[in-house]
Symmetry: C2
Subunit: 251 residues, 2 copies
């Protein structure tokens, strides 16, 4: 654990997200997992199933951040082109990975055996390692700082589990939340002043509309527990002085 | 309605999405709405509440696509910096928009009146028009091809309603879905061949895991009804010949 901040980018690959057909669950899932590893998700790009667009996004984000994750496009069908695109981005050929092939042969042994589509899932960029997939055989792929995961959220979850503790991270960002039926427009000056007075903390204000009333959750984030606690105390004091009721943990 | 394809980019602004705290709902919402307008969502970038990062994403996507949408960061608090960032991206000053100010004065007349935070929501890039917000007063902002919407999904929904029919679009992308408890790895060759035979159609394959079984939905997309129907018929015939049960509309 160091004071350095570790960052990651995420490329979500898939026409189904851009068409609105599928509600993405991987952004929040990868973000939460990275948080625990002490790595900050710094940018997400959602791109269509078009090789040139995947290549561009992968190259931009793998160079800008410590780690790059991709989700989607590593299945058996013709629209699964992520391996080809990442290989092109890295300038390496696509190979059939012997270990991945062995895993798939075993997995499909009692399911009709390997066929052309299933064999596609053994393809990786040359030089890659595999990320175990305990859910459905076909592995994720790790090459350099690039981590290629499935698009189906529960399979991605299994791959993230397999990666837990294997990536170097910094001090995790910790947070405290207070919330109430408080119009954020009535406390904007307070929030700004409390944040200014606690320089290693950020305060985010997230309005909501519930039970017919407006309110907001205020989330304080820091990598330092003592500073976080001091900032929290100052915010709570300010809200109390202004006569607002609030709940720790948020609403 | 023309044959030209109209495209849009979306910049989702907000630390709360990148921390995993908030599950984004605006990507799917904006995507579905654009689809109906005949506009294709071509790229999404999620960026933090950092001016330089917003400026970079806004400039990249407003130049690359016909329309740019942003969500988030137009509220009353210190972390709402989208107006400043978009103004910087466009090279115009931030002004207090007289019409927006009048709307907010009226909205807050019986809620304690305008204060510093509330007045922030009357700020726009110079030259902007307003997008009505029937939910909570503070308007969205339209300047050039840039459309700035709220982060809170139900407010964004109201702003999208207000924009319905005001943007030029092409033929809407239409789709048909068939799905079944069919392992996609058993039909990958069929999918590829059917897609190849229908050049104005794309077939997406979206695997799922339900009731303890694997399956997939196959979504055919086209801007042409006749070609879509022909492609659908060919896919259904192929699935039948292979002995698979499937459901129109997907599972």
């Amino acid at each position: 654990m160091t004071n350095r901040i570790y960052t990651a980018g995420l490329v979500v690959i898939g026409d189904e997200i851009l068409s609105g057909r599928t509600h993405d669950k991987n952004i929040a899932q990868v973000a939460s997992w990275l948080q625990v590893q002490g790595i900050r998700l710094s940018e997400v790009r959602v791109v269509p199933d078009v090789t040139a667009r995947i290549v561009e996004a992968v190259n931009a984000l793998r160079e800008a951040y410590d780690y790059l994750f991709t989700t989607g496009g590593i299945g058996p069908t013709h629209d699964d082109i992520s391996v080809d695109a990442v290989s092109e981005a890295l300038g390496v050929p696509v190979i059939v990975h012997p270990e991945a092939r062995a895993i798939l042969e075993k997995y499909y042994a009692d399911k009709g055996g390997l066929n052309e589509g299933r064999l596609r899932m053994a393809r990786t960029p040359e030089g890659a390692e595999l990320i175990p997939n305990r859910m459905s055989g076909a592995p994720g792929i790790r090459i350099g700082n690039v981590h290629m995961m499935a698009g189906v959220p529960h399979i991605t979850a299994g791959m993230l589990d397999a990666l837990t503790g294997t990536l170097e991270g910094g001090a995790p960002l910790i947070s405290e939340t207070v919330g109430g039926f408080i119009p954020e427009s009535e406390v904007s000056t307070l929030l700004r002043d409390v944040e200014k007075a606690h320089e290693n903390c950020q305060i985010g204000s997230y309005p909501f509309f519930k039970e017919g009333k407006v309110g907001a959750n205020f989330v304080i984030r820091s990598t330092d527990r003592a500073e976080l606690d001091a900032c929290l105390a100052a915010l709570c004091e300010g809200l109390e002085q202004a006569g607002f009721a609030f709940t720790h943990g948020g609403i």
